[in-house]
Amino acid sequence: MPAHLLHRQVHPSWIQQGRFTSQTFAPTPKDERLLSVNDGKVMTAAESFEHFTTVLLRKSVGVVSVTSDEVHQLGLTWANDPQPYPAHAVIDFNRVLGKAELKAKASALAEAARQRGFTYQPQQAQ
């Protein structure tokens, strides 16, 4: 059975020599510990990129993804949140205690995504 992917966009300032920062998978304070992702069962990585850059008008150099299992293995949960748009979901960091642990979880998610490689990159970014 294909893995259930959850997609994140990589900001152009958050990639150096092809490696993206673990901040890609860390919620910012304004996120209230809910990290936005796109449900891979609703939107492919390419569709996710298209939506992010042409509908939400935000910048991305490509899409990286983690699986639902990888999220759970870190003691995190995720849930669909279709309110902004159908594919929208969130990885919930509210059970994470403290900044250090949050960084550790984000780092682990980022490493899992790096092992997978970009799940989508536009032609010129490759």
């Binding site: 150096q16 293995q73 003691g75 998610l109």
Partner: protein
């Protein structure tokens, strides 16, 4: 001055006279000026050889200023007296304690029959040059002190001075000091010309090389593309850097003469004398790239890291990080700081750097389970902070 009429700068610190006296005269040296060179490069009271060549230009400036002063004060004469500048040569005779203090002496013939009548003009020239530097530092006009054709000498005098360096002279008035630094130099040159030159190190990617014309094009980190001539000695490095150029070619550091205008914008590069390939993670280059960020860089959010903070971190990094240690991946954070990351298959070091407070919050974590292995808060104003970071990264790399 030797027997062939050439002026010499004796960098060995000896007095090298080669013309024998003919008229009962003998050569003497008289202290002419004793500047103090201030900056990190001079702290061991030594002077890098690249700086010494500036004093040959200073000698030329003094001679030409003396010639000009003579003609100004002797309206009836169109030329200076024969042999006017033959009796003038500056020699570096010692480097004294106190940062680097080169004692620069005037070497001249002394004779009881033919006293050195021209000596006064060189002393006046020295004082006039220092008065001009003093005036420009105070924001005063200098048109009455030095004509614009003499200001062009400042374009070659002090070209290698760095941002944190300056030359101190005793003021001709006897009161205080006259400071010659990058700002004074720039102000003097721009009073007489639309642009100035300085030796600079620039970072970027070489995208074109013209072997016949000995010119290359470099795309600087900030995005500017410039073409400049290079010395034939670095042709091999230029070609090698170009041959690896695809989309993002290898980062290089070039040493060149940069040309900047009154707005301090870089308009041209000349005389590229060194090309060095940089590590892809070169921290100085990365910092330069991060300096291009503006507020709102993160899709309308995100504070740009302050330029002063970035400069501090770059300098602290260069001072404290051993060359054989792996370089980090360096990223901006939304709150205007930096995050340095190292990782291997098993673990990661994530270090959030507060570039205003000079501190670093380090988290060592393992990928499996996202478990925190250790967390520390380090001060980067203390050696201990850096040493601890080196140990942590060293342990990650060695797998311990």
């Amino acid at each position: 001055m030797d027997s062939e009429g050439r002026r010499s700068l004796n960098v060995a610190g000896r007095i090298g006279f080669r013309s024998p006296a003919r008229t009962g005269a003998f050569q003497v040296k008289t202290e002419f000026i004793k500047p103090r060179l201030v900056g990190k490069r001079f702290e061991e009271h030594s002077i890098p050889v690249e700086v010494l060549k500036d004093w040959a230009v200073f000698e030329d400036l003094i001679v030409e200023t003396a010639r000009w002063l003579y003609k100004v004060e002797n309206h009836d004469r169109q030329r200076v007296p024969r042999g006017f500048s033959e009796g003038f040569a500056l020699h570096l005779s010692a480097v004294e304690e106190g940062s680097a203090v080169p004692a620069i002496d005037r070497v001249h013939m002394h004779s009881q029959l033919f006293p050195d009548a021209n000596a006064v003009w060189f002393d006046k020239a020295r004082d006039r040059v220092l008065q001009a530097i003093e005036a420009v530092n105070k924001g005063l006009p200098i048109a009455d002190l030095l004509p614009s054709f003499l200001l062009s000498y400042f374009d070659r005098f002090g070209r290698s001075l760095r941002e944190s360096e300056h030359i101190e002279f005793a003021a001709p008035s006897g009161l205080g000091k006259v400071i010659y630094d990058i700002r004074a130099r720039r102000a003097l040159i721009l009073q007489g010309a639309p642009e100035y030159r300085q030796e600079e190190r620039l970072r970027g990617v070489i995208s074109e090389v013209d072997a016949r014309k000995k010119k290359l094009t470099i795309e600087l980190i900030g995005g500017q593309r410039l073409e400049g001539g290079y010395l034939k000695e670095v042709h091999e490095e230029a070609s090698a850097a170009l041959s690896d150029y695809v989309q993002n070619g290898p980062l290089v550091l070039i040493e060149c003469v940069s040309v900047r205008n009154k707005q301090e914008s870089l308009t041209a590069i000349e005389s590229i004398s060194r090309i060095e390939r940089l590590d892809p993670l070169d921290v100085s280059a990365r910092i330069e790239a991060l300096m291009q960020l503006n507020d709102g860089w993160l899709d309308g959010e995100g504070h740009a890291p302050s330029v002063d903070g970035l400069r501090w971190f770059r300098d602290a990094w260069l001072d404290n990080w051993a060359e054989d240690m792996p370089l980090p991946f360096l990223y901006p954070t939304p709150d205007g700081n930096l995050q340095a990351e190292w990782s291997n298959d098993l673990a990661a070091v994530t270090a959030e750097i507060d570039i205003e407070e000079h501190s670093m919050a380090v988290v060592v974590s393992q990928h499996v389970g996202g478990k925190v292995l250790s967390e520390l808060l380090l001060s980067l104003d203390e050696d201990h902070g850096w040493q601890t970071l080196v140990e942590i990264v060293g342990d990650l790399i060695s797998g311990s």
